[in-house]
């Protein structure tokens, strides 16, 4: 290893909240032309590592340990002092970049601003540089658009251009593929792999094994803030030595065993040739589906094709603009239940979960012990019911919402990306629980997902929308 090439070196880096250790100790170094991937589940402290280097830790958290950036020791510097190298030496590509862009500023100006004020170019040179960026990133034509008129992939490229405008050699990418469908996530990975190729250095944070595999370089696997395993990315991912890394890899949809098929029963829902509109836009045309008892159907497709609107039509919340949805006569008014993408938003936010569930049990004349039975089957500790939805993790909350749906004795369960915000291990657990319970109670499930692999592995039948 060539010492002169090391751009970031951290030695025994630890992050504390008061006296409570959240992360570390972690030692690593990153060289020019190389990539370092940090892997681990949500809450493992991955983002804290990036923040500790940049000096942007949330209030109340402190970092210890020695950090060198381009040969200069920076761990003693204040946030103010460190801000001088933001954008110039280190750039950060934030999570969900379309939220990081200024919603009232046109795409061109966001990038221009970085060239002009961070890199310090003259107005004319900055304009030229921006135009070049837009050309190389294939964004020509989008200069005058506001962020809400950019597609997710374009927004990501604009954010990338703005972040790297001042020629920072080190790029930190925090969950760059979070919430993206396959196409967009490929675009981002391509952008990122270019960084080390151009003699820069990339520090990428992800929980997805396939992203890590494509980025290559070295990997650190974190669990609950502790370093579990490290080494060459390809080697670690091929022959993981730690149990946790193995679990993480087994949770990748690609590695899932196919869910066993079940015998289907009578037709519950007959959807014939429907069209779905949102506003003046037609999202879907001529969609048909015959949903039977016990069946698992996946509807897969990229963001924005109208998957969620389709579920609204199936559940009867909105009417199709053409075509017909026929419900079987045995379906009562509450026979269709739904699981949501963002579990905290699916519960009344000001009352405890226990209160919410008791309300549902009372309404449906279900015994409280039955509800507790569902919860224990889903592995939920009863003590969590004293909390409000925002104090419970996403995975637990999604399982509680499964229990809530079961209390209404549904015949059909519509699941709208129920696991896209969960980390891989929790995602796998949650989906296999849904499959088990559905088979047990003869419930038909419609799963909406942007992940084609999940659709293939999990469902009896998958429908691709495009």
């Amino acid at each position: 290893m060539n010492k002169a090439n090391i751009v970031i070196a951290a030695q025994d880096l630890v992050v504390f909240a008061g006296t409570n250790k959240l992360l570390g100790p972690i030692t690593f170094s990153l060289e020019k032309g190389n990539t370092l991937v940090i892997m681990g589940e949500t809450g493992a402290g991955k983002s804290l590592l990036a923040q500790a280097i940049l000096g942007t830790l949330p209030k109340g958290l402190t970092a210890e340990g020695i950090v060198h950036l381009n040969g200069e020791r920076i761990d003693q510097l204040t946030t103010q002092q460190r801000s001088s190298f933001w954008g110039r030496e280190v750039a950060i590509l934030p999570q969900e970049p379309w939220r990081a862009l200024d919603p009232l500023m046109r795409a061109h100006s966001q990038v221009h601003e970085s060239h002009r004020y961070v890199a310090g170019l003259s107005a004319k040179a900055a304009k030229q540089a921006t135009t070049n960026d837009f050309q190389t990133l294939e964004l020509s034509g989008a200069e005058k658009r506001l962020p809400n008129a950019l597609s997710g992939g374009m927004a990501q490229r604009v954010a990338f251009a703005a972040a790297t405008a001042a020629d920072a050699q080190i790029l930190i990418a925090d969950e760059p593929t979070k919430g993206l469908d396959a196409d967009r996530s490929n675009t981002v990975i391509d952008l990122l792999t270019n960084v080390p190729r151009k003699n820069g250095a990339l520090l990428a944070i992800t929980h997805e094994a396939h992203v890590a595999r494509r980025l290559g370089g070295d990997v650190l696997v974190l669990k609950s803030g502790n370093l579990i395993e490290s080494g060459n990315t390809q080697q670690v991912l091929e022959q993981p030595s730690a149990d946790y890394t193995q679990q993480l890899l087994a949770a990748e949809p690609k590695a899932w065993p196919s869910t066993p098929a079940v015998a289907v029963g009578a037709v519950l829902l007959d959807v014939k040739n429907i069209s779905v509109n949102r506003g003046n836009r037609t999202l879907l045309e001529g969609f048909s589906l015959l949903l039977r008892e016990n069946e698992r159907v996946a509807i897969a497709g990229p963001s924005g094709v109208g998957k969620t609107s389709l579920l609204d039509v199936l559940s009867g919340l909105i009417r199709p603009s053409a075509g017909k949805v026929t419900r079987s006569e045995r379906l009562g008014t509450t026979a269709i239940q739904k699981l949501y993408q963002d579990p905290p938003a699916a519960f009344p936010s000001h009352i405890t979960l226990g209160k919410s569930l008791r309300d549902v049990a009372r309404l449906h004349g279900e015994k409280w012990s039955t509800v507790l039975g569902y919860l224990s089957r889903l592995g939920i500790n009863e003590a969590l019911l004293n909390r409000r939805p925002d104090a419970v993790s996403g995975g637990e909350l999604q399982r509680i919402s499964i229990a809530r749906a079961l209390t209404a004795k549904p015949a059909i369960l519509l699941a709208d990306e129920p696991t896209s915000r969960l980390d891989p291990i929790t995602q796998r657990e949650t989906l296999s629980m849904i499959a088990d319970i559905a088979a047990d109670k003869a419930i038909a499930v419609v799963l909406v997902t942007h992940d084609l692999v999940i659709a293939e592995k999990w469902a009896d039948r998958s429908i691709k929308l495009s």
């Binding site: 959240l22 949330p58 963002d342 699916a346 104090a391």
Partner: protein
């Protein structure tokens, strides 16, 4: 991982600040004085005694007597009763229709929303005291005109706040989930909407009460509100103003009462949220 976010494990900010607690204590004290006071001291606030005018505080008249020899303490307490009950009444009759209409506008949308919003904006375009003055002119000196005028101006704030918040909450998946689970409108109001708007409504109520206390006193002071001989703080200020040279302690008494009441209400309202 049982740790959704690092930030939620940090201590949450306390919502009950010291100043709010002081506000509540003051308010409680005032309410107790207004309710129990007149009965406890057992003196008629209207009873004149022309032999004992402008007396300084003494054992029989703790706060002295006014220009007609009436007991100041009895008059102040009776004034407190009047101001606070009028404030409470106008808050209740403004809050209930304001909130209900706000929920209705957000829930129904369309024409219901447009018409209600137009009506609220029209009321808002009139200066509040002007409406009260107009009603007071129809029925001079009666308390109901004051009360009706205050309620009519105050409901708009509840309406606007409720409509705004409720629109946001109704768009959340949690409301959709509750509907799919078979819950009716009352459940959604009770479990989703009221807990969300409750704290904001309390803040508006406290400011509204302060507005109506000062409004009543201001109208009394310019002789268009409550009429003498009723003991009302604004009326007392007008009556006592000519005597401020001979017995300056008198005029300060209703002023201090008014200041403490408004202060108590503002403190208990807490931080005003946008």
């Amino acid at each position: 991982m049982n740790n959704p976010s690092i930030l939620t494990s940090l201590p949450a900010e306390s919502t009950l600040s010291i100043s709010r607690v002081i506000g509540f204590i003051l308010l409680l004290g005032l309410a107790v004085c207004a309710i129990m006071g007149p009965a406890l001291i057992g003196m008629d606030p209207a009873k004149q005694s022309l032999m004992d005018t402008l007396q300084p505080p003494s054992a029989t008249h703790w706060l002295g007597t006014d220009h007609l020899g009436r007991d100041m303490l009895a008059r102040l307490l009776s004034g407190a009763q009047l101001s606070l009950s009028l404030a409470a009444l106008s808050v209740i009759t403004a809050a209930i229709p304001g909130t209900a209409l706000g929920i209705a506008a957000a829930w129904r949308g369309g024409w219901t929303d447009r018409i209600l919003t137009l009506f609220a904006d029209a009321v808002l375009a009139l200066p509040g005291l002007l409406l009260v003055l107009m009603l007071a002119a129809i029925s001079p000196g009666s308390w109901w005109a004051l009360y009706a005028g205050l309620s009519l101006t105050l409901w708009v704030e509840y309406f606007r706040y409720t409509r705004q918040r409720v629109r946001v909450v109704l768009a959340e998946p949690s409301v959709e989930a509750s509907r799919l689970l078979g819950f009716g409108a009352m459940h959604i109001v009770r479990r989703h909407l009221l807990p969300e708007i409750g704290p904001g409504l309390l803040t508006i109520a406290a400011f509204g009460a302060a507005t109506s206390v000062t409004g009543v006193a201001a109208l009394g002071f310019v002789s268009v509100g409550i009429r003498p001989p009723t003991a009302e703080w604004g009326v007392m200020m007008t009556e006592l103003l000519p005597y401020w040279r001979e017995a300056s302690f008198l005029i300060f008494q209703p002023v201090i009462c008014l200041v403490i009441t408004v202060l108590a209400l503002h403190l208990s309202a807490g931080e005003r949220k946008p």
